[in-house]
Symmetry: C2
Amino acid sequence: MPQISINSGRLLEDMSRLRTFGACGTGVVRPAFSEADIAARKWLANRMKEAGLEPVFDPAGNLFGLPAGDRPCLLVGSHTDSQPEGGWLDGAYGVIAGLETARTSIEAGGPPVAVVSFQDEEGRFGVLTGSRIWSNALSLAEADRLADATGRTFGEVRRSMADLCTGDFLPADRFSGFIEAHIEQGPVLDSAGEVVGVVDAIVGIRSENLRFRGQQNHAGTTPMAMRRDAFQGLVAFTDELNRRLAEIVTPASVWTIGHVAVHPNAASIVPGEVDFTVQWRDGEDARLDRMREVIIGAAEKTARTRGLELERSAYMAVPPTATDDTLRARLEAAAEKLASGKWRKMPSGALHDAANVSRLMPVAMLFVPSIGGISHDFAEDTAEEHLVLGAGVLAEAVFKSQ
Amino acid sequence: MPQISINSGRLLEDMSRLRTFGACGTGVVRPAFSEADIAARKWLANRMKEAGLEPVFDPAGNLFGLPAGDRPCLLVGSHTDSQPEGGWLDGAYGVIAGLETARTSIEAGGPPVAVVSFQDEEGRFGVLTGSRIWSNALSLAEADRLADATGRTFGEVRRSMADLCTGDFLPADRFSGFIEAHIEQGPVLDSAGEVVGVVDAIVGIRSENLRFRGQQNHAGTTPMAMRRDAFQGLVAFTDELNRRLAEIVTPASVWTIGHVAVHPNAASIVPGEVDFTVQWRDGEDARLDRMREVIIGAAEKTARTRGLELERSAYMAVPPTATDDTLRARLEAAAEKLASGKWRKMPSGALHDAANVSRLMPVAMLFVPSIGGISHDFAEDTAEEHLVLGAGVLAEAVFKSQ
């Protein structure tokens, strides 16, 4: 079996070139279907062709680069669209690392490897739109009716790529599995001085929209003992929640009260209502269930003891995605070979296209460190040596899969 | 000395008539300088004249009813403007109770009594605008530049009363003191089954606008232990504050976190900033000072222990107003005579015109119960017998002042 060795100069050159599409300071502005996004996809299709892959745009705008032959092969990649104000790496890193892996494999006589850049991962039209359509979680007809913040629909904007999107949706059985490389987008690897993360699960996300309703009152004439202050209810609830959740979670579990709306929100008025969200994430469904019981129990107890009414207006659940044991073992072996003692298994706290693709085939994921944990920001960055190392781990794992 | 006895039918009739100006369901819509407000003032001026008082509109739109003669007399009253959606009583009660007191005194050969309805107590152009101008806390020229929420200025709207406002500002030495009757606007009397409150102090109001600045982060990829969550800082601060203030306050002290703004206020983002107000009220300046020390101390401790930055952007202080010992003693004696065992001394948690007038002369205040503590709401109400009793206490106290 030949030794695989990626071309680090070519990897970094392609990363730099991709960065120029929608460049804005140190970041990029390259939302799905923007001029910069379409130009970047055209460039990427050309780079695929130069690498010996056949570029295929499917009707959703997802771009695949297919190796010769038709036996099932591994698919590697991520997405090249960005947030409205995004970092230069994000999913773009996974796509170029995938491209470098595929062409290295061709050059080294390794296994055939396909590459993908999914469309609208960043959610101009929802969440992970391109991979959601390909994995049959959303029909193209439904997607076409989705509108962005300005009212333009998915159906409208994908017509602007009609000259490119001449291919049909690719059958899932063309691929044996999917590996997505991505920046971590969190501080864990960077702060631990580690260089690679092998994802064991993409965490599940749950959220509850809650409301405490008390009694709006004059902040001067209402004695403390006679108040039913909705905001003070939220404070008591949050305390109770933090105390009770700490007893049942792992260090990888998270919960966030990120949205709070106090009514009527005036300095001189005792708050009569407060709307808020509790969002929580964990890799295990059973723990997500237990966390939900604690959240609802704490809210009910707070309402009962403080004379508040509790309303639950919306509940959302995205299940966790376990990664495939075999693919993960290959990534772990590659990480141990190239970065012994400097990698870890870890959950992905963010959603990724791999979560959708897992409906179709086995998936795995690989992280490189985000400096300072920063992402979705022009300041997003990763050390060059870690970009090279991550692509090397990916190539090593893919090479061993033949 | 003749016995004084108000005409309860006439009091309630005038209350009912005044209620028709700007009537809206059970409430009134009679903001300062609205058509309904000006019509109500014209009607009131006429009722003053019929009672033997000379009506005088000063340049700010304050309406005085002056008794014959020029020796200093007591001034009684409040205001007849309402909140944009107000209750039928509020200050209107104090004005009509004052008018009934003045005409009863004339009929019974009691002391001369003047009546007033201040303009814009409810703050279309700020706070207690009419009495602020009369008490020289705000010049007419400064007031003229104040704009309401729609951009109209005080100078503009007072010109719409120019045909009425032909009098000059009245000299303060025309009056020996001011007594303001008002509904309580809180639940204390109603819930205790008491019928009269004699105000010992109008509480001072302080407020701080504060900000905790932490680190905005992804709610999925940022472990709990690495967060600097500004909202969680506010929760910890509020706990600390409640615990520490409880040790130094009286049952009449209040504090309120009424305004909260979380940034960026999204379910999936760890809050990076939170702006909030702490407002606190008490009858004693020394206690207000101690409360401020606790508030700032708790905020600084929270910032220090949680790695947050603390900013203080605005501080506001309105000093407490002590009521006059002699006037208050007369109200207490009258309350004990007419409602023995069913009245209390209490602070006013709301600001009133009396706070401004105290710059010019001794002041006192009298409360009647608010059913359910409700005010600034169409549902605001007081039992008829309590309206009558309150006016009786006012008249008794005024009568004993000659």
